[in-house]
Symmetry: C2
Subunit: 677 residues, 2 copies
């Protein structure tokens, strides 16, 4: 045995000695090397491509001779000439070991390959999907030992792939006999093995070799927008993404008004359920069309959403979520057939809904947790997903806390006099000169600043229509930095500030950000009411974060992650000037983009991640802000805008805020700040 050739696989480093003539694929299997194969070594699927490395490898103590593998054969020649097999590659199921050899398994040939992600700091996604393809040869029926075709198929999957006793969905039976005979007793099966199911299921059977790939969908079901990402389950790549408005908006702009709708119209959730399912199905139609694939090859979908959307999508009455104690019908993850909830994918496609954390903290927050993995973090991270409700996670690998804070829709541009949704024409970035108090800005859909040449022409089509959520954060923060607003949130008069952009507005003042009235455009101002709305929203957010910090027994966090589409557009500096997030070094504030969508994609591509997040959700300590007296206290104390002293010492270094004060009332803010400690 010790004279047998040595086979070393890279990158795993696994090694062993095998008799001359052993297939590379068999050697890999015996060593547990992650080498893909759908056809099981029949020279059909070309998934088991490997790269032999020749020459002297002192590090491995091996000299690989050119004849260390068997000669190039006809099967490989066929793949070479046809497709797939690039220079230097061999098929692991054809090449046999003839001498000591080093074999590299390229990423494409690994079942559990890593999916490339753009964010450098993001967690890795290792492909390990629930639904996979298997080619099998099924024994033919024998009159003398009768058994069902299905039972022989299941036996073949067990014997040739070591799969446990599988069940077949009822509808699979309908075509099974024809398919087996059409494939001359060789068929490819799509098998779903859920992480929490005792027995896997055969979802479909194709005659002969079916190459795939199969597809999956990750869907982030928001109150306003539904976003779907179509993934190739073989490569993990996103093939198409698209979004659609949530049609439930006509029943209520925000979640609470939708819950109220059901309270007023008992049974109204059924209609809301219908329209959102239809919209999602239409969205699925868009993404599959964009990717040019048939719907019925989408075998899996993963859903995340807040708890109210969770109930409304599943057809559950959400009224309990609208009142204490905010009881969910079910908090656990769900696995069901997508067809049960009206989605037209493969008829047997499974739907996995991530677990909800609590009545206010949904599967979307669980997805954020999965994406950002605070429970794996060495340092203490605060993760904020800003929306109508802000979901807040605080923790590290020792302990994770979660709560939801009722920020209201101000951050989304609602309740703001010139507010609007993020859309072309909306002001999203603002700078105010601290000396002249003159603003300049950019609008969505145009890369130019408003004081640059060509800006008017570039924005002529969309116009300048209002201020979006991130714009309102910036303009108020800039106003504070330019001394137009004091720490109490009051806008000074033209005389106090020294600019006629501060105009009288009833008993307070407003700041003119843009006056388009000459050209039939709007007058876009920031009113003191707008500032008040943002102060309330940011106070709720900050109070939620502080509450979790109290529970954790800390005064500072190591880093802050802003999640959500809104979080992706917020400038960390401005957020901190406003006091939305606790004081932290600016380079410790990162945007995670659409972390909920990413979490859904992770759960789609990696089964282990489903078990992981279910355990994490069980372990997370849930804090209910509504019944915490300290939340109210923090909320009251946090309504001021910081003046860059305590508790924001780090902010003071980078943005020393002017110590202006525009009336009696605002002078008390110092006192309030002290109470805040």
């Amino acid at each position: 045995m010790s004279n047998n050739p040595l086979v070393i696989f890279t990158p795993s480093g696994k090694r062993g000695r095998f008799p001359v003539g052993t297939k590379v694929l068999d050697a890999a299997r015996q060593l547990g090397v992650d080498l893909d194969s759908v056809c099981g070594g029949r020279g059909i699927c070309s998934k088991c491509q490997i790269t032999p490395m020749f020459g002297d490898f002192p590090k491995h103590g091996v000299n690989v001779r050119p004849d260390a593998l068997s000669e190039w054969n006809a099967v490989e020649e066929r793949y070479k000439s046809k497709r797939h097999l690039i220079d230097g590659r061999r098929l692991g199921c054809q090449a046999t070991v003839q001498g000591d050899v080093i074999i590299d398994v390229p990423p494409e040939s690994q079942v559990h390959k890593q999916v490339v992600r753009k964010r450098a700091e993001a967690r890795e996604i290792t492909l390990d999907v629930a639904t996979r393809l298997y080619l099998v040869d099924v024994e033919q029926p024998d009159m003398h030992d009768p058994s069902g075709d299905l039972e022989r198929l299941v036996a073949a999957l067990r014997e040739q792939w070591d799969l446990p006793e599988l069940e077949a969905d009822f509808s699979v039976l309908a075509d099974l006999q024809k398919t087996l005979r059409k494939g001359n007793w060789q068929v490819t099966c799509a098998v779903h093995q859920g992480h929490n199911e005792e027995r896997g299921h055969i979802l479909q059977v194709w005659p002969g070799f079916f190459e795939g790939p199969l597809y999956g969908l990750a869907v982030d079901l928001g109150s306003t927008t539904i976003a779907a990402h179509l993934c190739d389950l073989d490569s993990g790549e996103v093939l198409a993404s698209s979004g659609i408005m949530n049609p439930q908006i006509r029943f209520g702009e925000d979640l609470m008004s939708r819950v109220s709708y059901v309270m007023m119209n008992p049974g109204g959730h059924t209609e809301m359920s219908r329209v959102v399912r239809e919209a999602m199905d239409a969205l699925i139609g868009e993404v599959v069309a964009e990717a040019g694939i048939p719907r019925d090859l989408v075998m899996e979908t993963v859903l995340v959403s807040n708890p109210v959307m969770h109930h409304l999508f599943l057809g559950l009455d959400p009224v309990e979520l609208g009142q204490a104690p905010f009881a969910l019908a079910t908090a656990n993850s769900l696995t069901l057939k997508a067809a049960e909830v009206g989605l037209t994918l493969h008829p047997q496609a499974r739907l996995y809904y991530l677990p909800c954390i609590a009545g206010h903290v949904g599967a979307d927050a669980a997805a954020v947790a999965l994406s950002e993995a605070p429970y794996k973090s060495e340092d203490l991270v605060l993760i904020v997903d800003v929306g109508t409700n802000a979901e807040i996670l605080l923790g590290n690998k020792e302990r994770v806390l979660a709560c939801s804070s009722p920020t209201g829709p101000a951050f989304e541009g609602a309740q703001i006099s010139s507010g609007q949704r993020a859309a072309p024409g909306a002001i999203e970035t603002v700078r105010i000169d601290p000396v002249t108090k003159e603003p300049r800005f950019r609008v969505i859909g145009c890369d130019l600043w408003s004081d640059e040449d060509g800006f008017a022409e570039a924005t002529a089509q969309t116009g300048i229509t209002g201020i979006c959520g991130s714009g309102i954060i910036e303009v108020i923060a800039e106003m504070r930095m330019a001394g137009i607003v004091d720490a109490g949130g009051l806008i000074g008069s033209a005389a106090q500030v020294g600019t006629d952009r501060c105009i009288e507005d009833g008993r307070t003042h407003s700041y003119v950000l843009y006056d388009g009235r000459e050209g039939d455009g709007p007058l876009i101002t920031v009113t003191n009411g707008d500032i008040r709305a943002i102060q309330l929203a940011k106070a709720a957010l900050y109070a939620g974060a502080r509450l979790l910090m109290d529970k954790m027994g800390v005064d500072t966090v190591d880093r802050v992650t802003l999640a959500g589409a809104f979080g992706a557009h917020i400038s960390p500096l401005h957020a901190m000037v406003l006091g939305m997030i606790p004081d932290v070094a600016l380079d410790k504030v990162a945007s995670a983009g659409n972390a909920a969508g990413t979490g859904a994609r992770i759960a789609l591509l990696n089964m282990g991640a489903r078990a992981e997040i279910e355990q994490v959700v069980r372990d997370i300590e849930k804090i209910e802000t509504a019944v915490e007296p300290r939340f109210q206290e923090h909320f009251v104390n946090a309504s001021n805008i910081p003046n860059a002293v305590e508790p924001f010492p780090l902010l003071a270094e980078i943005a020393p805020l002017p110590d202006v004060s525009f009336n009696q009332k605002s002078e008390g803010s110092g006192g309030r700040r002290r109470r805040r400690r």
Copy 2:
């Protein structure tokens, strides 16, 4: 501890000592005594009724004082005055142990009570149903420790009933929150725990206490008739039974013509599936109406049928069953939702389809095996279920063989000149005077013999319309015993036999059984063609039995059981005169009635029986007659009618058959008989 009172339960004999004040129900649970309770000891369900026995019981070494149990209490008084609680009974959850006591658990209070059966020799059915009711108190939601209502319900079932982690069907979620609150956090759950499922399912939740009972259906899906039996799952009793014609008859009278229909009309099975499902659903409507219960309390149904009906009901193409190697799409048992196959029961009702034994030996044969349990028999039993195909089982507790034999429809009255289905007006019993050769008979729907007074009047309404399956057996056997037919199957001429009831009929003769032509009635004769058809059918049946006996290595069997509706009407003597079944003492031939339906009912009422029959079906040795040369041999040799000598020595003692012979050809029969050895 040893001074604690002794509690002895009968009939189990289980005993133990318990502290004074222990509830009888708790003592029973700790000892594993089979004492029912739906409410878990809350004094609500009155299922745990027991009878304390007082006085001196030397056999048990106990003297039970009148105060051995606690005093009669208010809860018991309520049940006494209201209902249920008969004299001498106590509630096990109310009465507590005060001294040594003997407690009888009456049958109604046993969960695993035995179901009364009419046949003395029949196997016992112990009630152990898959779907049961449980009352639980569910913890209320807690904001500080959020969890779903469903998860708390599942926890309550685990903690209060020791049920494993259950799943809830998706639709249960829809009403769960309202139901929990309506019941003030006390609810009754219907829980299904399949014998082959890892996790049970909550099928429905009722607010507060729901008494039940729940219901189940056992359905025998025949090619000609569908029969349904509605059972009370609490008592095991059959509440209503009904039958309906299988509407697939319009696609083909027998199974093979239905398979041919699909061969000619690809996809035609879909339509056949639809009509049979609709008919079954209509039949279910009839039986629930007869029993006066709502459809949605039927929580389970068990189906049995032959393999072709199995496929046609499930929507599977049956063409593979029409040609060698007769491959089933699936042979294993199936558990699915009844709604999936269009049955309107409880929306979550489960359907259990017994396993098929082989391509020709279906779930109905498996049900016969379950009912007659040859695999538990000490002696060797031959079980014959006669229909278009005869299913034959031979075995004992060591070994069981099965085959199917293509008898064709002659036994059902088809292919017989005056044949008809068993219906009022059909001749079913015949006697022929061996001297005068004159017949007398009875028809279905009339208890009088044709030679009794009042017969003409009694049959005036129905008329005398033809001969049914059992009638044709009898008349031919009687003709043989009266010397009208010889061992070769030829009818003698009037001169040869000595009666002018033998009339010329082409080149052969016919026997006039009834001539109603004077009163515009039919002329009912038995032709030589009829005898030939029955000879072929009985030869197939006999050859199948002989083949199994060969495989078993025996020449005789200890007893014969005739199953099926037809088997219930066959006279064993006449069957043996015809040579349908092997020679055996007449008192060793029994009819099992509708054994397939009984087997379905056993599987409905006892979960263990499902596991049992699945194992039995795996173990049964399946013999395919179509490819056994010895079957052909036996078939050829068995076409004669016995002449009461070998191989029918036992028959010779009770029915010495006349040694007549009506032509040259028939004289050879002796030679053939010899070859049969």
